[in-house]
Structures are given as C-alpha cells and as structure tokens.
Amino acid sequence: MGVILKLSGADMLMRALHDEGVELIFGYPGGAALHIYDAIFRQDKIDHILVRHEQGATHAADGYARATGKPGVVLVTSGPGATNAITGIATAFMDSIPMVVISGQVASHLIGTDAFQETDMIGISRPVVKHSYTVFDAQDIPKIIKEAFYVATSGRPGPVVIDIPKDMTAPDKLYDYEYPEKANIRSYNPPIEPEQNQIERAVAAIISANKPVIYAGGGAIASNAFKELFELNEILDAPITNTLMGLGIYPATHKRFLGMLGMHGTYQANMAMHNADLIIAIGARFDDRITNNPSKFSPDAKIIHLDVDHSSVSKIIEADIAVFGQVKNSLEAIIKTLKNNLDDYDSKRLKPWHSQIAEWRSSHGLNYELYKDESDNNSILPQAVVQHVYNITKGEAYVTSDVGQHQMFAAQYYHFDKPRKWINSGGLGTMGFGLPAAMGVKFAFPNEEVVCITGEGSIQMCIQELSTCFQYNLPIKIININNEALGMVKQWQDMNYGGRHSESTYQNSLPDFIKLAESYGHVGIKIEKNSELKESLEKAFSMKDKLVFVDVYVDPSEHVYPMLVANDSLENMWLSKDKKT
C-alpha cells in the first residue's frame, strides 16, 4: 500500500488478484477477455492454467478450494465461455465452496444490443451465486476484487461472479491503483461468535441426553472445525456420523464414528439418528438425502443446530436450540461452557446407547461378505476396488469422485481420517466433476497422491481435461469403475421401474479407454479379473510420474446398499436386493 501506480483495468485486475494472495487461475481465453489475457502474459506472479472447457476450469478451481480452503479463481470469456462455466458455479454454490469467477463481457456500449458473444452473465448466474458484480467503472476494480473475495470466503462461503465489460480492461486507459486493506460492506455481516445463552441451552441439553448423536456436515469443514469437533467428542464420547459432504471432519477409523448417514448411509448411522434423543447438527442442513421423509425423521430427538446461515436452520427440521455463528467458534464456546460444568456430565450414562449401536453395527454394518468368492468365476466387485485403493494409498490420498454408484462406494469404503481429502459434488451431484477437481487438488498439492474414483459415464463428461493433465504433467490416478452403464440410474430402474433399463446402457459403444488415455499421452491399464485386481492397482500407483487411467470392469448388476426406502423414516432401509429392515 502507499505507493500509487498508474495501471490499466486489466493490469489492475491482475495486480489486485496478486495482492489478494491468488497464486493460480483456471481459465480459457476469448475476445472479451483478451485485454486481461494480455495482462496475464505480461506478469509473472500468478500462474494461469489453460483448461480444455470452461466447466473444467470451474471444477478445477472448486477442487483447489475444497482441498486448500482458499478460494478458487476462474477466468472465462463472455457468451459461451460464461455459460459453459455455469454448471461449475452451481456445483460450488450448492456445496458452499469459495470461488471467484471473472467473466469477460462485451464492451459497455454494446451491452443490450445482442452483440457477438453477448450474454447476460449476471442474470444467468444469479440463482447460483452468493453475489455478483458488474464493473461499470474501471477505477472500482480493486475494491470489487477485495469485496468479492471477502464475500466468497466469509460466512457461508460461495461463488461470486465479476462480469467485466471489455472497455473496462482496455490498455490505453490508466487509473490510480491502490488495493484496499479491508472490505467494508455495511449490508453484509455474517455471524461469527454465538450467543452465550444459546450455548448454555445447548450444553444443558447435552448434559441431560441419554442417546445423543453428533451429525456433522460440510459446514464444519468449511469452518475448519476438525480440532474443536474432536475435542468436544473427547468429552462427550458420543456416536458421530458425517454427511457425504462432511466425511473426514471426524476420523472415520475412530471407534465412535458411525459412517455416513442418509440415502446410502450405514445401518448404524441411520438407526442411531432415528432413535436418538438428541441430535447435535453441526454445519449440516438436513437436506432430503438425509431426512428422507421429514415428518418421520427422528421422532424423539431434540435438535441442536449449529450453523453460520440463519436460513439453513429450521428450514426443513425445526431446531429446538439454534446456535448461529461460525461453527468453529460455536464449538469452542460449547467446549468451554461444558468444561465449566464437567461435574454434571457423565459419559458413562451413554453405555447402553453404545451397546445398542454396537449391536446395530455388527448385525448390518458395511463390511458384509464382500470377498465370498474372489475367484475369476466372479466379476470384480466395485466395493473391492475402493477397498484396494484405500489400502494401497494407506487411506492418505485425496480422493475426488463423480456421481453415481462409484461415488457412493468411494464414500462408504474409503475411510477419511482428515477433512478436505474427500472432494465430491454432494449438493448438485455433477457428473464430470471428478477429473477437473482432481487437477485442482494436484496443483495445490503436487506431492500428494490424488485419486479420481469415477464411472465410465461421468468421466466422459469432462474427459477433455486429460489433455490439460498432460500439458501440466499432473500424475493423477484415475480409477474408472466400469459397469458399462449409468449404474445409479439402472439401480433405480431395477428397484422402482420393474428393471426397465431405459437409456441407461450404451450398447457396446464405449471407447477403448486404454487407447484413449494413451492418445492423450498417459498410461492406461485394463483390469477384468479378480486375480489381477490388486497387482494391477499396485502397478498403477507405483508409476509416480504418470497419469494412469485404470479401467476396471466390475459386476454390472451390483447395487449400492444400504438404501433408504423412499419417503419413509431413517430406520427403513434396503440392506440388499431382497432384504429390508
């Protein structure tokens, strides 16, 4: 600060991004963004990653954000560049991921004239952004950048779009550049510290509960509350479940961990939620994949709900005690108050509850007889693929995923002990997310193992990014769980539509993924037999410097279980094709 520079709008933009701490931008050029691209060329502080499709840019920035906690940054051109980015923006919005998307726009004097590549980006993106800005005066660029990053990362995070008409970045107009130290938005004031009287009510409820369950979701990860949640449960000793978005916020290998809950949650997690007398919801929003039928949801439980977003609380399930604030701060406050009342808290009281849960776990827990027959007479089970990947990577990899059966198998069988390692599109459920997201993670952590567990349907939705992976030498491991079908669709058709597989198979039209990987400059490995599975996967992971595309043919008839019975309570689940609770 202090020094005032004379810069063009485009140079101010790059300078402001650098002053904001941005190191990486994912993008794709085009007419309306060319002044900005020239400014990128003339600076050396920020790396630009050229993707192959704007959807890839948004997912890569999203993956980067989820893994690091820092906002992802995207740059696209107007019109088709902007519309191509929408799916990725919506994906980030649904999962509350901090992201700043800069879109070029036609020059101010052309706006509203149906100019070449003009599209109302602010209008199209409005329902899927936390906020958006149009630059009307280039002088505002530094202030808008400052505000955009503040909005994207604070409170409940989310994507912010900045639409910049081309004339705002013209090289011949210079402005005084100064980067503001703070964003000050008088009409935006997300809660941070909780109210102490709510904390006291929460602690009183905790102290008197006999069957408590902690239900933690993506908001706890966004708030970086791993340590606090762990510390709280060292005192409470309560059973704990995570949503699909929350996996890793509590160590999955901990004895108190119940596994994921909801649609494809474990038997013990769903049973515990249904029978609890107290649910402590932490950064989780009771969406329909969790509650199933809200009127039958957890009939006897009192609800404590910790969240930063007022509108998430009592939206679907009425909260008895609402604690607004950053989840991390709220947990700290609960711990502190609980510690002052420690004489009143006796975790031994939970013993019968724990034995009940142990019984549920042992009767229908996840690890049913997967390996009944691992001979080559049987096809490979998709669950076994994930288990092998888990073992080979010692449970320490970053795992991105797409959407479908493979995603659920990954969530169930890869046990995450740390947050920000499981990277998946939970809210929007975007097929095509996995590969570009893995790129974003690999850029952030080049020395870490990054695995994309995908399906042959999903991977084809952003397959073009294999070219980006080659350009930037990103040795990701892609595990394609190939059931030669849109497996999850097929499963629903099996269960609800009399097995009529309408448009969920491809009639032998899949590409040869091995040749495809090779043509992009990578290594492909095909696995078709149980006897090859372990060894071939080990071989793939031994190739440290290569992107390896592992195409594993699995049993196409396999379903994901448990699965909640539609529109019912959490205690009603399908446990296998012919067994219901």
């Binding site: 149009t134 009409s187 935006y188 004031n189 007022h310 509108s311 009592s314 607004f324």
Partner: protein
C-alpha cells in the same frame, strides 16, 4: 395462507431488485404486489445507521414493499433468505425485523 406485507431497506444498486424478485421465484414464493421507492427521509432509519455505523446518503437506499400469500413458517424462511441477500440491509414483516443477521422482535421499518 394469509396475505402478508414485507418491507425491505436495501442498497440502491444495479441488480439489487432483481435479486429480491428472483429469490421469490427461485424459492417458489409468490409476489402479489411490489412497490419500490428511493428513501429520501432518513430520520426513520436512524437506528439502522447507528447499528451499522454508517450514514445514508441521497439516492443510496431504497424501500421495497412486497405483499405475498404465505404460511407462518414459510414467512420466517423468506425473511431469512432475504436477509441473506448482500444488498438487503433490513427486512421486516408485521412482527419482526432482521437487520443484517440480528433479529429484532418488532416491525421497525
């Protein structure tokens, strides 16, 4: 379902109104009537200026009135959703006012 009146004080910025209207559409709420005016007499909103440590200037804020048919629980949800919009400074119905995340137990607008 009864007819309700909502009042909002918001920044008079491009796109602010469409965000409010869009939110009604997006969440499936219906708008019966809508009226918007620039605020010229700030004396009624001194409490907002004090609370937000700001000073309103000419043409900076608008007052928006919407009537809608909704149930009680939905009303609260609408208030919270509106309050979440970055350009909305305060929003109230007959009984409550949300002033940037702070819930006040009366209609102050």
């Amino acid at each position: 379902m009864i007819k309700r009146k909502l009042i909002m004080i918001m920044e008079n910025k491009p796109g602010a109104l469409v965000r409010v209207v869009g939110l009604f559409h997006q969440r499936g709420y219906n708008i019966e009537t809508l009226h918007v005016d620039p605020v010229t007499d700030f004396s009624r909103y001194k409490f907002i200026e004090e609370k937000l440590e700001t000073k309103f200037k000419e043409n900076e804020i608008s007052r928006l009135t919407i009537t809608t048919f909704v149930s009680d629980s939905l009303m609260r949800q609408i208030l919270r959703q509106l309050n979440k919009l970055i350009d909305v400074i305060a929003v109230s119905n007959e009984e409550t006012t949300y002033l940037k995340g702070v819930l006040l137990d009366e209609n102050l607008l």
